[in-house]
Symmetry: C2
Subunit: 327 residues, 2 copies
């Protein structure tokens, strides 16, 4: 069977247009974010919106819950949509909601979104105190039910403790190495080494604030970075998590940054002079552009098998080992 | 394969003791109530409690979601637990919660619990205005996703309209014919005829307020009533829904009756002089007593096949046709 194409992080303003672009781009599976600051009930409203899309567009998309759904998507020429949270806010202070959310189809949860959470410390905090008491319990529960710990927006110590505490490999679904582009959201060599040595996965982001050169980053610079990451960590631990925020109004990036936790604006990765969503690099604008990345990677010293792995096969293997109940 | 034993309504104070009694009684499946007045979030807390029981007692019980789970329960000598609401309160004013609740495993929902709801009229109201605008929409949505409309606590006109409006057979999971014992909760011949002619199911209750003679009702009187119901409606449309409330403190029947909707006590089927749970008839005290009912029914003119149907096979057939998405 053809190697799958998987994008392991998007938060677009989804619409039939984008679902059609996923098909045009041959994207077999997408992990979509359904919560940034939502309470449990608010997150369920987002699930309801997805249920309506699944009902209205069964020819394009369906809900993904297991690795087999990716193969089913390939066979039926559709896109399997997997759900994840970028913040543990939907589980509130209730560990029982981990299993409930898994039953509702959630397969990834970040322990933090930039700030301190009930579980761990985010990458924007001044002090990183690692996993909290509840954080350790929740990681064990996520391990039990089959929900992936995602540390994309977490601080280093918290990330290292999550890798260590988790009995199953974890993920950083959307970030790049700090040695390529220094940013609070990009990850240190130490973190990436610990992540991948423990069997975890890194998904490369195409969000301009995570790219060397920002919106002007060249495809060859991006692909050379991937090549170097494969040399350091092994190509089998690498995938794509574009962080595509297509068609979102700038009000959404404000919501992502301050939610309800601040009365004053926080510009996060942006600035007062550039507060909105940055312009995507010309070689990756929407779901039809994965072929550019694939072709760019094939220009490097990576083998065709390694490129197929990075474009989706590695995530599929990770899904196979991650979404079921612990043995 | 052995004919299954299914009790299609219990609201016991569940515990490992009762799960063991289910096994001792050879009960293959039980539909349990998980909401009377709960909001969505409160109902989810009840689901969490069940998840803990499933995790702690996998040798005794597991969550039932399809008819195949009943066969699986028989094969593994366990009890499949199916979830239902006796009130639509958990879907609040949000039709999208029907599918969410189905995804969480809910397979039955009453449109009303005694009072007027957002969907229909309960059996204790003075006026019955039938299905509301939202009620019609919700019935169609329940039909679509595979959630059974249960009219056990609804008024007659609402029940007849639900039977008529539903594109799939509905159920009265726990009630008896009013021609045997006149009670607000028991059902008229007209309602039972319309229900069963449309392919629906009646589950016989053993709750004393629904029995001729109350707690002193004899097994033979109960079984003769079933025999007569089979003559009138056809044995294939009959099953058991005991309404077993074992081990509940009387504070629970108060909660069932007034929830948060009244500041004054309402005694429902009880009275000021007998406000608590009534004593069960001696021939049905807990899950180990189904054999008494089976043997009683075998003393009537019902055939052995008809008795097997009433004890579980008819519900199993109904489950097969009811729990999946509409074709």
């Amino acid at each position: 069977m053809k190697t799958p194409l998987i994008d392991n992080l998007q938060y677009a303003r989804f619409s039939p247009k984008i679902f059609e672009q996923m098909r045009a781009g041959g994207v077999d599976a997408v992990h979509v974010t359904i919560a940034y600051h939502e309470s449990f009930r608010e997150m369920v409203l987002n699930l309801e919106q997805w249920n309506r899309w699944f009902e209205a567009h069964p020819d394009l998309i369906f809900k993904g819950t297991s690795a087999a759904c990716v193969r089913h998507a390939q066979e039926t020429r559709r896109t399997a949509i997997f759900f994840g949270f970028q913040n543990p806010s939907p589980i509130e202070d209730d560990i029982g909601l981990v299993e409930i959310c898994h039953q509702l189809g959630i397969r990834f949860m970040q322990l933090t979104y930039n700030n301190q959470s009930l579980l761990a410390t985010g990458c924007y905090e001044a002090e990183d105190t690692g996993l909290t008491r509840m954080g350790k319990q929740v990681v064990a529960e996520m391990n039990r039910v089959g929900m992936v710990v995602d540390m994309s927006h977490s601080a280093d110590r918290s990330t290292l403790e999550a890798i260590d505490h988790s009995s199953r490999p974890i993920a950083i679904t959307h970030a790049n190495p700090a040695w390529w582009h220094k940013a609070l959201r990009n990850k240190s060599d130490d973190v990436l080494r610990a992540l991948t040595e423990a069997g975890g996965m890194l998904g490369f982001s195409v969000y301009p604030h995570h790219l060397a050169g920002g919106s002007d980053c060249t495809l060859s610079s991006f692909c050379e970075m991937v090549e170097e990451a494969a040399r350091r960590y092994g190509a089998a631990h690498l995938g794509i998590g574009t962080d595509l925020c297509q068609d979102q109004p700038d009000s959404i990036v404000e919501w992502m940054r301050v939610g309800r936790w601040s009365k004053v604006m926080d510009y996060g990765e942006g600035s007062a002079s550039a507060p909105g969503f940055p312009q995507m690099p010309e070689w990756f604008v929407d779901n039809r552009d994965f072929e550019n990345i694939r072709n760019g990677l094939l220009q490097t010293s990576l083998t065709e098998d390694e490129v197929c792995g990075i474009m989706g096969m590695n995530w599929l293997t990770f899904f196979e080992n991650s979404f079921g109940a612990a043995p």
